[in-house]
């Protein structure tokens, strides 16, 4: 089974800190995605990547950046964390074609 591993289940960070959320998948998938999930707003796409060093903005990229130096790893970076970035962050990957996403377990980030 494909595994998508997010490095932390829970994180508490201070306002203004630089925050790194790491995601690793073990099945050589080309596509990787970062979503955030908030009550009443559902899942919203932050960034995605089709290949190493490739990145595309999603629907809500402001305040975030990403890095994909290796195929298996897709990092989400909060350049200067703010309280409105308190959320559940979900990483996902998929291969090409008509297949579903495989999600990680999520990282619940609290910015205080």
């Amino acid at each position: 089974d494909v595994k998508v591993t997010q490095s932390s289940r829970y994180l508490v960070k201070r306002t203004g800190e630089k925050v790194f959320l790491e995601c690793v998948q073990d099945m050589d998938h080309e596509n990787m995605f970062w979503y955030r999930q908030d009550p009443g707003l559902g899942l919203r796409l932050i960034y995605f990547s089709y290949d190493v060093k490739m990145k595309e903005k999603g629907d809500i990229p402001e305040g975030y950046s990403v890095s994909r130096e290796k195929k298996e790893r897709f990092s989400l970076i909060l350049e200067s964390a703010s309280t409105n970035q308190t959320s559940m962050y979900l990483c996902a990957s998929k291969t090409g074609g008509d297949y579903g996403y495989t999600f990680g377990s999520g990282t619940r980030l609290t910015v205080v």
Binding site: G42, L43, L45, Y50, G100, Y101, T102, R108
Partner: protein, 111 residues
Amino acid sequence: SQQGEEDPQALSIQEGENATMNCSYKTSINNLQWYRQNSGRGLVHLILIRSNEREKHSGRLRVTLDTSKKSSSLLITASRAADTASYFCATRKAAGNKLTFGGGTRVLVKP
């Protein structure tokens, strides 16, 4: 704005009953997918239906797709307490690999 909108937002049923939830979307799609999320966890892919398919089954799950009405339904038959979760539809447009998710339906199956 969300591409998919689920209805109802919440559903409470007794174990053994069927659960039906609906999803409507706005633009043409390549495929539509359903996911389950247990409380506080990641999403799990359940089933994918392509735009040229009308119905698909997987175990106790039945999905229909009506592209003329831009809607889909997910039926869970003979529900179990373990089916308690939130269910999301997600649509993939013709170009690209992005999925757009709806707000989800919370299902409570009472023993």
